[in-house]
Each structure stands twice: as C-alpha cells, then as structure tokens.
C-alpha cells in the first residue's frame, strides 16, 4: 500500500551473497570434475616448470600484436614462397600412392640395412677403407644380380615418369 517509489536499496550483503553464490557454484563445479581438475592442475604445473606457461600467457595477452607481427613476416615474397613450397610438398605427399610408397620405403630400408650389414650382406666391406675398388667388370657382374637389376629397372621407370611429367609441363607453358 502506498505511493509509487523508485528507490532500490541493495545492501552490501547482497553483493556479498552474490559473491558467495558464485563461489558456491565454482566449488560445486570443481567437486563434480574432481579428477579432471587435478589432472589439469598437474598439466599447468608442468607447463610452468618448463617455462611454457609464461610464454603462452604472454602470447595470449599480446595476441593481437603477436599475430600481426607473424602475419607481417609471412606476408613477404620469401614468406609466401616458403608457404607455397610447404603446401606444394604437402600436396605432393598427398598425391603419392601409399602402396607404392610403402614398397619403395621397404626396399629402401632393406638396402640401408644391407649397407649397414644388418641383413647378413657383404656390401659393407665395399665401403670399408682398404677394400678393392669396383671395376667395370665387377659392375657388369653386379647387373647380373636379379635384385640389382630390378632396382635399376625401377629407377629407369621412375626417370621415365618424371621426364614425361616434365615434358608435359614444358608443353603446357
């Protein structure tokens, strides 16, 4: 009962209660995610120990400027060229046939192992100091080895494919 009034008194206790309420909500959330919170704190501790947390903090706090400097550095002919090469390399990797790459890498591994003598081979002695150098007849004899022959044939096929693409590129220009 009464005249219209417009004054609203919000005693400090209201603000305190509001803060208490916020505190309670935070504590409740902490309690409900106990393990995650502890794990998160450990991670933060490790980052702090390694000096990464201050670095990340600074990067976030100075985010706009850091980004601007980074972008400026990239937005130069050499930066763009680097990016283009990186992207081209990534694209190249993406275009390779996984099976062929796998076969090639397996073969490469076998070759390396053989050179290292891990595969019971003898070639390691070829590179050893004091070993007799390979003569032309030795090379011809090696061509008779089916494995060496296959590898060389593989290499010529690779050169043929590469040459074909290079010619096509030259023609298109």
């Amino acid at each position: 009962m009464g005249e219209p009034i417009t004054s609203i008194q919000r005693p400090q206790t209201a603000a305190i209660k509001s803060r208490q309420s916020t505190h309670e909500r935070v504590m409740a959330q902490l309690a409900s995610d106990e393990e995650g919170v502890i794990a998160g704190l450990r991670l933060l501790g490790a980052l702090e120990d390694k000096g990464l947390l201050p670095l990340f903090t600074a990067m976030v706090e100075r985010g706009d400027q850091v980004l601007a400097r980074g972008v400026e550095a990239l937005n130069t002919p050499s930066g763009i060229s680097t990016l283009q090469i990186a992207i081209t390399l990534l694209q190249w990797v993406g275009k390779l046939d996984p099976d062929s790459v796998s076969t090639l890498l397996t073969a490469l591994t076998a070759g390396v192992n053989r050179v290292a003598g891990k595969d019971g081979g003898t070639a390691v002695s070829v590179s050893a100091s004091g070993a007799r150098p390979l003569g032309i007849y030795d090379l011809l004899a090696k061509f008779q080895d089916p494995s060496v022959n296959t590898a060389i044939a593989y290499l010529f096929e690779f050169l043929a494919g590469m040459g074909e693409a290079l010619r096509a590129a030259r023609l298109s220009k």
Partner: protein
C-alpha cells in the same frame, strides 16, 4: 522415390500407388514421369526440374533459388540439360517424359562457368568469415561442386561497406548479385526497398533510390539478411563474434586473407580448414528454438547464442507460422534480456525504498500478508492477474493457484484489454473463441478486409503474407480504419469511417448483399440458424443511414459489397480498432454475421481473424485465466465441470463469481479488493484511465508484482519478484491461429530470476498446495488432459518446430480450419446474432480532437523491452503525436512542436509529427511511452465494452495546448517512415541478361 516430400511441398492432391516392392502400379492424375540421369522418376506435374532433381536425391547446385522465394534466375548454377537443351532447372516446369541430364559435359561446363562468374564477385576467405557456420549456401555449393580454382580472379567493386543500419551491414565486395535479398524485400516482405541497379558498370544492391541503408525505407525486418546466400548481408551482432579467428584486427585479417589467397593451392584445402573451424564453432554457439513474444503471429526461430550474447536470430523454413519471415523486433529485438535494468533479485518495500531480499524472505512477506487479508476479509479480497505474455503452463498454474489454492475466481489476464470482444463474438456466432483458420487461409483469400487493425506494424509478418498475395496473385484488399496506415496505402479500397461506427457500415453492407439476393442461401439454410430474425434486425441499417453515421459515401459501401459478392473466398481481419470500443463485442459480432451471411467460413481462404496482439493472448484465455472459465473455456458455473476440476486438483473450488481485471480496479476503489497479485503486466500504463488505475494501486493493502523490469506498476508494489523473459524459460505459446508451439530455454535465468511457473509454485506451496511440478511439460500435459479442447496435445507432438492447432483430438489430430464438420454448437449450426449499434462515448465540446492510439512497428507497447534494445532505441527514441497538415496549419505549429493533450481524465506532453496518415481533427498517439507524462492511457477513460468490460481505448476526444510551436522532429534519421520505397516487380533479371557483358549459358539465348 521420395514421394512423401512432394506431398508436403506441393498442395495439389496427387499421389501414386505402389505395391509392396515399390513398383508403380497406378498413377493418379497430376503425377508425371520424367527421366533423370537415366533413372525414371514420378513427380507432380507442377514441379520444377530442380524440385524433381533434388527429390531424386541428386545434390544439384542452386544458389539463387530459395524455397521461400521461388526461381530468381540470376545465378545460372542450376543449369541442367533437358531434352538436349540447357535450361535453368529452377525455372523450368517438368513435362511428361522429360529427359533430364545433370551430369552431361555441357551442363557441368555451364554450371562451372556460372560459379566462376559468381566467384569473381566474392572473396573466398571462409575460415575467417563470420558466416562460416555450415549453412553458407555459397561455401557449400562451391565445395560440393568440387571447384579447385576460379577462372576469373575476384574483382573488388568500387563501393564502401554500408554499416549505417544498427542491425546489419551490406558488403558490396562480397555480394554475388543473386538477388535473393531483393526478391525477399520486394515480394515476400513487400517493403519494396531493395533493388539491384543493373545499369551500373558494376551492379550492386541499392536501398530506395540509392541512399545509405539507415536513411532508406528499410524496416529492418531482416528478410534480406536471412536469405543472403553468403556474407554480403550479415547481422552486425555476428561480426567478429562467430568465428575463432574473425575477431582479429581488420588490418591483420586483411593480410591473412591476402596470404591465404596467394598460397592457396586449391579450394579443397582451404575448405577443409574452414570446415574444421566451422565444426569448432559448434562447441560454443548454441542454437535454440524459441517463439517470439512481440505479437500474436507466433513466429518461431533459432536463437544463436555465445554465452549470454545473442549472435543472431535465424528463422527456418520449418517454422509453421512464419517460415523465414521476421520483423525488426523478432529479428533484432532481444538485447533487453541482458539489460542492466533487469530485476534480478526479490525486492520488498520498506518505507520509501525497495530492499533486496532472499526468495524465502519475499515469500514470507507474501504468505503472511495475504493470509492475514484472507483471514480478515475473505478469499475474494485478493485478486490474481495472469499475463498474456507468459506461457500456457504459467497461465494454467496461475488460475489453478487462484482457484484451487486461494479459493477465488478473481482471476483474469490482459486479453481483457484487447481481444475479449472478438472471442465473445466468435463464441456467440460460431461456438469457439479462436480464429477460424490459419495465416495460410489469409494468403489464399481472394479478398481480405482489414477492419480497425494495423497489421503492418502490429502483426508485421502476417501482413507480409497479405502484401505478397496482393502483389503476386492479385488478392484484393479493403482497409477500414480511421487512420491511413501502411496497409491502407496499399488497399484497393480504403474506407475511413468515423471512430466507433464500424458496426453500422458492416451491417449496412450485409443488408445490401442480402437485399441484392447475393447471400449464400444454401449455406444459410444448411448451416446457420436465425436468418429471418437477423434480417429483421438489419432494417435500420440502410446505406443512407450508414453513410450519415459513418461519414462515408454510399458508393464506397456499394463497392465493398460488390467486392465481397464477387469474391469466392473472403477473410476478415480485425483488431483493437474494433474491439476497444463500448460496442466492441457487437461490432465483432457484425463481422461474424457478415461472414456467415456470405458463406465465408469453414472453407480454405475464408474466415474470421481477430489478430491477437500479444504472443499468448489466445493461450491465456485457453488456459482459464478468466473469472468465468476453466481451461478450454469450460464454464466455472457448470457444476459437473467444477466437480471434474475438484477431483483432478483434489481441492474444493469456489462457486462465487469472480471479478475481471477491470472490475478488480473498481473493487479496489470501493475497498472490496485489498490485495492484488499481478504477473507480467505494466497495468499502471497499459490499462485505460491510467490515473484511476494508479490511484487504485495506492489504495491496495498489499500488492505483488512479478516482472522482468522495474515497471511503472512495480513502483506501487510491496513485493517485486524477479521473473524471466521468454528466452530464459521453456513452455508453450498459442498464437492467433490457435497454434500451440514450444519454446526452449535459450539462456539461463539472470541472477536470482525464475520462470513464472516456478515462482507460482513457490507461492502455492507456501499456502499448502504441495505442488511437485518439475517441468513445464508436466503442467502442460495435466492441463491438456483435463480439457476437451486440447486433449491430445503433448510435448512429444510439439517437439522442435512441430505445432498443433486446437481443437486437438485425443489421437493428436489437430484442426487448422474450424467448422468444416459443423459449428461448435449442439446442432452443428452457426447462429446469426442480431446486434445494435452503441454510439461512442461523448465528452464536452471543448475536446475537439479525436484521439486514436496503437502500436509502432519498432516497439512493443509502452517499450519496456524494446526501448532497451539500443538499435531500436536509436531508430525510434521517443513517442510523438501525429497530427494532420490541416490541424498543424490551423494551430500554426510544425514538426517538432511540443504540445499538451488534455482529456477529461488526464494530460500528456509530447512532440508533434505532421503527417497525412491522419486527417482533419484526428490525431494518433502511439503506445510507446518512455516517460510518465507520455502515456496515452492517462487520457483514456474507464468506459468499456458492455459485454466483456474491455476498455474503450479507442474512444476519446482531447484538446491540444501548444507549448512550443516548433522544435526538433521526434522522427529521427533511421526511421523508415522518412524513406521513399522503390517498388519493383522483382530482381529484374532481364536487365542482367540484356547487359553487353552477359553471355548466356542456356540454350535459349533470349534469356
């Protein structure tokens, strides 16, 4: 074959019959066979080739086509080869045996070329674009087309970004000139503001005759932004907020885009990154469906939020009442929810101030004070007023609280102020108190008559359907109003009767039609009672009499009658210009009588449409917030029904007749009503004769107000309880079509605010109710289960965008069109209800100006919510009074003059706008009132409709005193009323095709 979709898409009744193996064994008329990429498909004959392709499951590109707009034909991205010819699939109708190829080389080449042309206009920087939210049409189309490189480099246009509008921006450099925005503005919203200037070397979208957006006639409805297929038109609230990288400083962002473009190895890699980024956005952007609260149309849409920030409102085609349409309030008017003015804690009056208290302390006060008053003065000494802005669940609980817990029928809601007369008339004549059809029926009508309503400002989305029907289909429109409102400007016939005389001309037109023998005799014979008596009641309503009383020419009335007689389907809309009169119920009844006499009910495209003003006017009444009705309009006076509710609620119920809210105010003055509990209503401002109402409040012993803001009414309260706005709660609303729709919680309640249903339950339990509701769903299903009208309504059936139009049968079948199987009376026949004219109230001759009032498009009522939306406030910061040029000349005043308006009941002080929207001595004062001295209801009286007690807000005369003869105009830059629209048939694509730089991609090179 996905035929079900066709049945939804097309209204024609057409279907095919398949056996169990889905082999076609019979074909009904209207279905034709086409071949798409070698596969046979059956499609409706009215379908487009694009419809057919999409329905066959092929993901065919289409950028400018939008289902709400139809074919625009600007983008060429949907080209297909049909019978050997390249055609635009969107604009080509299927024909029997048609051979459609989507994958032919020619078609694919044409589409790629079309997209290349588009991309010349659009800089693709998706990852750092705020529109990269999985729903960018352009992004998705380019990606799905597998485009790696564009043939033509992006070419910037020589135009600045237009940031002038407070709500959205236009970036010409990103605009692909598809014309969706233009089509939406010209032919869906029909504000006719946007067009594309194809004559420029580099075309662009322009507003009006090429002015900044904010200086145009743009109403900021948001249609253009919603349909934009890219980021050219965007909500400002999204900019820099939606993406993880989009908030980057502009210069840095620009460099990043440059780098990206220089190093881009092909779009697929870029898109992969932007897709990942878009996916990440889902983690922090919530999209929640809600239902708008700004009028009774019932628009629904998704609200995108990030934390408490509202990023945007996104309407969807599934929305049953509005599809993609919105108005400025629905699209952009929600920032008030984060206003610092929100009440966020319970407040209790102590002396000259309110003090914040805990909920328990506030409830203690309520319990103690109300119990004391009830013990001393009885249960009927307390009144309970619910809100037509609250949910159905909250209204149901409020009347249950009053009746079952507080043992009184003193329960009402604010629909008493507006729509009760319309409900009364519908119940008198047809049986049910709701609109007889849907908005779709209004679209289908051949003739729509609007009486005393201003839907372009008060029901904006509904009005767009009428404007579109008129512009695109030639629907006829008659507007009868004392003021030349927006729809009146567009009307085929505009009638300006004197205030409060509508019943007379309506009855005269009805009589004329009967006298011409053009009444629907079969309909009247088979489906209507009381014709003979009704005809006798019309004797006095001759054209001459009507002309004299209404101040209109007989020829105008004859033309109205002829237009009705010539139309196959007639619908009539009306609102407060009819209902808020001393004869409001009778005038509403005259409208119903006219419709019955001409057989314009119970058929598609016909019917009676009182336009509900608040979002839940219909629902508040439906749920029993009226002294005489339980939910479902089941009468309190009926003993059997009362027993049903006593059993259900397990309490005795009062039998004493209750007071409506108008009577409650009188009862306070009389000392009979000692306490009032009011939910969500600024009654001190919106009730008529506000001084009288405010004086009543000072006499209350105890007053509880439950509200979102510290309103004028709240200033009188003893306890103020912090309530939630709609975005912070869930429940259902029922719109003007009787359509029940669910709203979901978009935001968590702010501070200690609670949804009204929770507050009501807390109060009830203080009085021993022991309610245990845990969700609105429990309340809703209890309410509907008790009634006959909503029996089958459940939350499951209302999931998402689904809706139900009551009556809802137990099996969930709803009723979009009423009375098809008979009227809601025992004999299934409607009743013609003779009515007599009640002349408007009179006041002394010194009050020489006829006062009218109503809404502004931009604001909701007094502006408690919308004035707290910065963009809306900037556009319309204050109210004003509209006066005619003749009156301005007579009083020697100009735009911006400061005047005092004085009625027998009070006075207001406002600035003047001189306009020909009003004529002679008629003036118009909007409801917006930010200051106490502006409220129009300080001028209105307590006179009311005799049947329903709805105040006669629209009947008052005032006099005017000039305080300052001139001053700054209250209409500021940004107000659409200052703009000059630029009506066009559409996007004018022929002008594009006629340009020298356009090479056709279709076979028929004329297009």
């Amino acid at each position: 074959m996905t035929l079900a979709r066709f049945l939804v898409t097309f209204s024609e009744v057409s279907y095919i019959i398949c056996d169990k193996s889905k082999e076609v064994i019979a074909v009904k008329e209207g279905i034709i066979r086409v071949v798409i990429d070698g596969q046979e498909h059956w499609v409706p004959s009215g379908a487009s080739v694009l419809d057919a392709i999409l329905d066959s499951g092929v993901d065919h590109p289409h950028v400018c086509y939008h289902p709400a707009l139809g074919p625009i034909e600007t983008c060429d991205t949907c080209i297909a080869q049909v019978d050997g010819q390249l055609v635009r699939a969107c604009a080509t109708q299927v024909a029997s045996g048609m051979q459609i190829q989507t994958k032919s080389v020619a078609a694919r080449y044409a589409r790629k070329e079309a997209m290349d042309r588009i991309l010349q206009n659009h800089d693709l920087y998706c990852t750092v674009c705020d529109n990269n939210n999985k729903n960018c049409t352009l992004h998705n189309t380019v990606m799905k087309m597998g485009i790696e490189h564009q043939a033509y480099p992006f070419t910037p246009k020589p135009y600045e970004v237009d940031m002038s509008n407070p709500f959205y921006r236009y970036d010409p450099n990103q605009c692909i000139l598809c014309g969706r925005c233009v089509e939406a503005c010209q032919n869906l919203q029909v504000s006719e503001v946007l067009s594309i200037d194809w004559s420029r070397e580099q075309p662009r979208v322009i507003w009006d005759q090429d002015v900044p957006i904010n200086e145009s006639s743009c109403v900021s409805c948001g249609h253009c932004v919603t349909v934009c297929p890219c980021n050219a038109l965007m909500e400002k609230s999204m900019l820099g907020e939606a993406g993880y990288l989009t908030g980057i400083e502009a210069g840095t962002l620009s460099q990043m885009i440059d780098i990206t473009k220089q190093v881009e190895p092909g779009y697929s890699s870029i898109f992969a990154i932007s897709e990942i980024e878009a996916e990440l956005r889902e983690a922090r952007i919530r999209k929640t469906k809600t239902v708008c609260t700004y009028c009774g149309v019932g628009c629904s849409f998704d609200v995108w939020t990030k934390g408490r920030d509202i990023l945007k409102v996104e309407p969807r085609m599934e929305a049953p009442a509005n599809q993609i349409s919105t108005c400025v309030k629905g699209k952009f008017g929600w920032d008030f929810v984060n206003s610092e003015d929100r009440i966020v804690e319970p407040l209790v009056r102590r002396g000259d101030a309110f003090y914040s208290v805990t909920w328990d302390e506030a409830l203690d006060v309520i319990e103690t004070r109300i119990k004391a008053i009830q013990a001393r003065d009885g249960y009927d000494a307390v009144g309970w007023i619910a809100s037509s802005k609250s949910t159905n669940e909250e209204n149901y609980l409020m009347q249950k609280l009053a009746r079952s817990v507080m043992f009184t029928n003193n329960i009402d809601n604010c629909s008493r102020y507006c729509q009760s007369p319309a409900t009364e008339a519908l119940r008198r004549t047809m049986g049910l108190g709701g609109d007889t059809g849907s908005i779709r029926d209004l679209e289908l009508a051949d003739l729509v008559i609007i009486v005393g309503a201003n839907p372009a400002e008060a029901h904006p989305v509904l009005s767009t359907r009428l404007r579109r029907a008129q512009k695109k289909r030639g629907q006829k429109l008659i507007v009868a109003d004392v003021r030349r409102n927006i729809m009146a400007e567009r009307a085929d016939l505009f009638l300006q009767p004197r205030q409060g005389t509508d019943l007379v001309w309506l009855s005269a037109v009805t009589k004329y039609i009967i006298d011409c023998g053009k009444h629907d005799q079969l309909f009247l014979r088979d489906r209507v009672n009381g014709f003979a008596e009704f005809v006798r009641s019309l004797d006095a309503f001759t054209l001459a009499h009507a002309s004299e009383v209404c101040g209109v020419r007989e020829a105008e009335l004859i033309r109205i009658a002829e237009m009705i007689m010539a139309a196959e389907r007639v619908s009539i809309c009306w609102a407060m210009g009819v209902t808020q009169h001393v004869g409001g119920s009778d005038t509403s009844t005259a409208i119903c009588n006219l419709l019955l006499v001409t057989g314009n009910v119970a058929r598609p495209g016909t019917g009676a449409y009182p336009l509900r003003g608040h979002n839940n006017v219909q629902g508040a009444g439906d749920m029993g917030c009226a002294p005489t009705f339980f939910p479902g309009y089941e009468p309190v006076a009926n003993e059997a029904i009362r027993r049903k509710y006593e059993q259900a609620w397990k309490t005795p119920l009062p039998i004493t007749p209750g007071l409506n809210n108008h009577q409650m105010v009188d009862a306070i003055h009389e000392g009979k009503l000692k306490a009032l509990y009011l939910v969500g209503e600024d009654m001190a401002v919106v009730d008529s004769n506000a001084n009288y109402v405010q004086q009543a409040f000072t006499k209350l012993e105890f007053f509880v107000v439950q509200d979102v803001f510290f309103s004028k009414t709240a200033q009188f309260a003893d306890v103020i309880l912090p309530a939630c706005p709609s975005l912070e709660k869930e429940g259902t609303f029922t719109n003007t079509e009787r359509r029940i729709q669910r709203l979901y919680r978009v935001l968590e309640p702010l501070g200690q605010a609670k949804p009204d249903w929770e507050i009501i339950q807390l109060v009830a339990n203080r009085f021993g109710a022991n309610w245990q509701y845990t969700s609105p769903q429990e309340i809703f299903e209890e309410a509907c289960g008790l009634t006959e009208l909503f029996k089958g309504a459940t939350y499951g059936r209302l999931e998402g965008y689904r809706s139900l139009q009551w009556p809802v049968a137990a099996d969930g079948t709803d009723t979009p069109l009423l009375y098809v199987d008979g009227f809601a009376f025992a004999d299934k026949k409607a009743r013609l209800y003779p009515v007599a004219w009640t002349p408007p109230i009179t006041v002394a001759d010194e009050y020489d100006l006829e006062l009218n009032n109503g809404r502004l498009l931009e604001h909701f009522h007094e502006g408690n919510m919308t004035s707290r939306v910065p963009g809306i406030h900037a556009k319309v910061p204050e109210t004003y009074v509209e006066i005619s040029p003749a009156l301005a000349a007579d009083r020697k005043i100009a735009n911006g003059a400061l005047v005092r308006l004085i009625s027998p009941h009070g006075r207001v002080k406002v600035r003047v706008v001189v306009t020909d929207r009003v004529s002679g001595n008629k003036i118009y004062l909007p409801l917006l009132s930010r200051r106490d001295e502006e409220a129009v209801n300080l001028l209105t009286s307590s006179d009311h409709d005799t049947a329903t007690f709805t105040p006669a807000y629209k009947e008052m005369r005032v006099r005017m005193e000039v305080i300052e003869a001139k001053g700054e105009s209250p209409i500021k830059t940004g107000n659409f009323r200052l703009g000059k629209p630029n009506p066009q048939p559409g996007v004018n694509v022929e002008q594009k095709w006629g340009r020298a730089d356009y090479a056709p991609l279709v076979t028929d090179r004329r297009s």
